[in-house]
C-alpha cells in the first residue's frame, strides 16, 4: 500500500500536472489536424521527454496519444476528414450528424465516450497487468522467444492483407536491429566501417523518420483538398449526453471491450479497434440501416473502442516489453531510455513507478474532458491552419528532434533514410508496423533465440519441452501454417463445387 501513496506523490505534483496539460494540448492540436497522426505526435514528443524525469515523460506520452486519438474526431465531425486514421471508421456518421445540426451532440459524445473508453481500458490494464506479470515471472528464454515470435507474427497477420509483404516488412525491421555490435557476440555487424553505426541504429530516430518524415513527404506531394466547416459556432457539447448513456450503454461496453482486446494484440491499434467495433455494432444493431448516415450508436461504440485500445496496448508493453501498437512501441523506447525497463521485474522492483503509470492513465482520461471541452470551442482556429504552414514546421521539429537524441547529425541522416524507406514501403502496400516491431524486438528475439539454442545445444525440440513454452510454441507454429491450412480447405471446398 505504501507504494501506492508513493505513486500518488509521484503523479500529483506541479511538474507532472503541467506536463500532462502541455502534452495534452499538443496531442489535441496534432490529432485534430488531418494528416498528422497520434503516432507522429508521440514520435515528435520523445526528444522532449528525453529531458524529463521518468514519470512526467511517461505521463506526457500517455496523455498525448489519448488526446490525439480523441481529437481526430473533431475534423471528422466538422470537415468529414478524420484527423487521425482511428476516426476514419465513423467519419460519415459524424459528418452526417453535423449536417443535421447535431454537431454539438456528436462532439460531446466523442469527447465523453473517448474518455470513458480510455478509463475502462485503464481499469482492465490495472487489473490485468499485475496478474499477467506474476505468470511471466516464471518465463525463461524459451518462453520469451516464443512470446516475441507470437507477437511479431500477430503484427504480420493483422497489419496487412498480404502475408508476404507483412513478413518482408518484419524481416527488414529485424535486419536493421542487427546493425551494430551484437550483444551476444560483441562482433560489429553491417557497420561498413562506420563508427556511428557501431552502437546500432537508434530506434526513436527511425520512428521520427517513419512517422513524421514519411508523413511530411506524403503531405507535401498530395494536393490540398478544399473543405469547409459545416458549423460556424459550437454551443454546449454536454447537453443530452446523459440521455445517450441510458440508450447506448451496451454499445459503449461492447465497443470498449473490443477496443481493449484489439489494443492488446501486437501490431493492431486504435484504428483497427474502431473499425472492428463499428462493424460489430452494426451487425448487432436494431437499426443497421442508419449506419453511415449519422448513427449515434455506431459512433459511441467505435469512439470508445479507439481510446480503450490506447490503454489496452500498454498491457503487453508493460508486462512483456512487447508493444500493442506503434505508439506503445515508442513508449517502450522511452521506458528503456528512462531505466524503467518493462517486464515482470518492474512490478516487483519498482511497484510505485508502475502504479504511477496507471494513475497517469486515469488522470489523462479524466482531464481529457475539460481540456477537450475548451479545445472543441477553439477548434475552428486550429482547423484553419493550412498544411502548407504546418508541414515545414514539422520538418524542422523532426530534424531538431532526431538531432537532440544523441546530439549527432548522423541521426538526422538516419531519420531521412527511414522516412524515405517508410514512404516507399507504404506506397507499395508494404505495412510499416511489422518493421517497427521487428526493429524494437529484434535484439530481444535474437538474444533469447541464441541463448536458447546454446542451452538446447541446437536441439530445436527443446524449444517445446517446457509446458508454457510448448503451448506458446505450438500456437505460434499453428498460426504460421494457418494460411496453408486455410488454402487447402478452400481448395477442397472449391473442388466439389467445380464438379457440380
Amino acid at each position: 500500500m505504501n507504494s501506492v501513496w508513493l505513486a500518488f506523490g509521484l503523479v500529483f505534483n506541479p511538474d507532472v500536472m503541467l506536463t500532462i496539460l502541455v502534452s495534452g494540448v499538443f496531442g489535441l492540436v496534432i490529432g485534430a489536424i488531418p494528416g498528422l497522426t497520434a503516432t507522429m505526435a508521440t514520435a515528435l514528443l520523445v526528444p522532449v521527454t528525453f529531458f524529463m524525469d521518468p514519470i512526467p515523460a511517461v505521463a506526457a506520452i500517455i496523455t498525448c496519444s489519448a488526446m490525439a486519438i480523441f481529437a481526430g474526431d473533431i475534423p471528422a465531425t466538422l470537415l468529414r476528414i478524420p484527423g487521425t486514421p482511428s476516426s476514419a471508421a465513423y467519419v460519415d456518421d459524424a459528418y452526417a450528424m453535423a449536417k443535421r445540426g447535431e454537431a454539438e451532440l456528436c462532439l460531446g459524445v466523442n469527447l465523453v465516450y473517448s474518455a470513458l473508453g480510455g478509463l475502462l481500458g485503464s481499469v482492465v490494464l490495472m487489473l490485468a497487468a499485475p496478474a499477467l506479470a506474476n505468470v511471466v515471472l516464471e518465463f525463461g528464454t524459451f518462453e520469451y522467444f516464443w512470446l516475441c515470435a507470437l507477437g511479431l507474427s500477430c503484427a504480420v497477420f493483422i497489419s496487412s492483407s498480404s502475408l508476404v509483404r507483412g513478413t518482408a516488412s518484419l524481416l527488414l525491421g529485424l535486419l536493421v536491429s542487427t546493425v551494430g555490435i551484437g550483444s551476444t557476440s560483441g562482433f560489429a555487424r553491417f557497420t561498413f566501417g562506420s563508427v556511428d553505426l557501431m552502437g546500432g541504429i537508434n530506434f526513436v530516430v527511425v520512428l521520427i523518420g517513419m512517422f513524421a518524415m514519411a508523413e511530411i513527404l506524403r503531405g507535401v506531394s498530395t494536393p490540398a483538398g478544399k473543405s469547409e466547416l459545416v458549423v460556424k459556432r459550437i454551443g454546449n457539447v454536454f447537453s443530452g449526453i446523459a440521455a445517450t448513456f441510458r440508450v447506448y450503454w451496451k454499445s459503449f461496453l461492447s465497443g470498449s471491450a473490443i477496443g481493449v482486446v484489439i489494443g492488446i494484440l501486437p501490431g493492431a491499434g486504435s484504428t483497427l479497434a474502431a473499425f472492428v467495433s463499428y462493424a460489430f455494432s452494426r451487425r448487432t444493431s436494431k437499426h443497421p440501416e442508419e449506419y453511415g448516415k449519422g448513427s449515434l450508436e455506431g459512433i459511441v461504440s467505435s469512439t470508445s473502442a479507439n481510446n480503450a485500445a490506447v490503454s489496452g496496448a500498454w498491457t503487453p508493453a508493460l508486462v512483456f516489453g512487447i508493444p500493442g501498437d506503434a505508439v506503445t512501441a515508442i513508449a517502450i523506447g522511452v521506458l528503456y531510455m528512462k531505466g524503467l525497463n518493462p517486464g515482470p521485474m518492474i512490478f516487483i522492483n519498482d511497484p510505485q513507478n508502475i502504479y504511477a503509470v496507471l494513475i497517469c492513465f486515469f488522470v489523462a482520461n479524466i482531464v481529457m474532458v475539460p481540456i477537450g471541452f475548451v479545445f472543441i470551442k477553439l477548434s475552428r482556429h486550429v482547423l484553419s491552419l493550412s498544411k502548407e504552414t504546418l508541414l515545414p514546421i514539422i520538418l524542422m521539429l523532426s530534424i531538431v528532434g532526431s538531432f537532440a537524441i544523441n546530439n549527432t547529425l548522423f541521426d538526422v541522416g538516419i531519420m531521412l533514410v527511414a522516412g524515405l524507406a517508410a514512404y516507399l514501403m507504404e506506397e507499395n502496400d508494404i505495412p510499416v508496423a511489422p518493421a517497427v516491431l521487428g526493429l524494437l524486438l529484434g535484439t530481444m528475439v535474437e538474444e533469447n533465440f541464441m541463448t536458447s539454442m546454446i542451452k538446447a545445444d541446437g536441439n530445436l525440440l527443446a524449444f517445446f519441452e517446457r509446458p508454457i513454452a510448448g503451448g506458446l510454441g505450438l500456437f505460434t507454429v499453428l498460426l504460421w501454417i494457418s494460411p496453408l491450412l486455410f488454402g487447402i480447405v478452400r481448395r477442397m471446398r472449391a473442388r466439389p463445387a467445380a464438379r457440380r
Binding site: 526528444p47 522532449v48 528525453f50 529531458f51 508476404v164 509483404r165 513478413t167 518482408a168 524481416l171 527488414l172 529485424l174 535486419l175 542487427t178 551484437g182 551476444t184 557476440s185 562482433f187 555487424r189 553491417f190 518524415m213 511530411i216 513527404l217 507535401v220 506531394s221 498530395t222 494536393p223 493550412s386 502548407e388 504552414t389 508541414l391 515545414p392 514546421i393 520538418l395 524542422m396 521539429l397 530534424i399 531538431v400 538531432f403 537532440a404 546530439n407 547529425l409 538526422v412 541522416g413 531519420m415 531521412l416 524515405l420 514512404y423 516507399l424 506506397e427 507499395n428 508494404i430 535474437e446 533465440f449 541464441m450 539454442m453 546454446i454 545445444d457 541446437g458
Partner: protein, 157 residues
C-alpha cells in the same frame, strides 16, 4: 512511386543474397557453436523466400505490368518541387549546419519551403523567422540541446 511485385521480389532476393554472403564471413565465437552470423542468415533466408514468393505471384498472374509506375505528383511541378525540396532541405541542413550554425540554416530551410508551398514571400519570411526563433529558444535554452552556433553566433562552448 509504385514498383511491380516482380521488381520488389528481385530486389528482396538480391538483398537477401548480400546479407547471407556477408553474414557467412562473420567469425564464430570460440567455445560457442552459434556465431553472430546465424540470426542474420535466418533473416536473409526469410527475405529470399518472401522475394521469391512475390516473383512467383507476379509470374502466376502472367500479365504485363510496368516495373515502375511514377506517382501522380511527378506531373505537377509544384508538388514534385515540394517533395524534392523537403528531402533536399534535410540534406542541406546536415551539410551546412555545423559550419553555418542552426539559426541561419533553419531560417533558410523554412523560408524556402514556406515560400514554395504557401507563396506570399513577406509573410513566409516572417513565419520562417518566428519558427526558427521558437525552435531555437525551446531546444537550445529550455532543453539545452547543443545546437551548432556556427559562424554568426559566438560559441557557447
Amino acid at each position: 512511386m509504385r514498383f511491380s511485385d516482380m521488381s520488389i521480389g528481385v530486389a528482396l532476393v538480391c538483398l537477401a543474397l548480400a546479407i547471407i554472403l556477408t553474414s557467412a564471413t562473420f567469425p564464430s565465437v570460440p567455445g560457442q557453436p552459434y556465431g553472430p552470423g546465424l540470426f542474420p542468415i535466418l533473416i536473409g533466408i526469410g527475405l529470399a523466400v518472401c522475394g521469391l514468393a512475390l516473383v512467383g505471384q507476379s509470374w502466376g498472374r502472367n500479365r504485363a505490368f510496368p516495373l515502375f509506375t511514377a506517382p501522380p505528383w511527378t506531373r505537377s511541378v509544384h508538388l514534385a518541387g515540394a517533395f524534392l525540396l523537403s528531402v533536399a532541405s534535410v540534406v542541406f541542413y546536415i551539410a551546412v549546419v555545423d559550419w553555418l550554425g542552426f539559426v541561419p540554416t533553419a531560417f533558410m530551410v523554412l523560408a524556402v519551403l514556406f515560400i514554395w508551398m504557401r507563396g506570399r514571400p513577406a509573410s513566409s519570411l516572417f513565419l520562417a523567422a518566428a519558427v526558427t526563433a521558437a525552435a531555437y529558444a525551446s531546444f537550445f535554452y529550455l532543453l539545452s540541446v547543443p545546437l551548432p552556433a556556427g559562424i554568426l553566433l559566438p560559441s557557447t562552448g
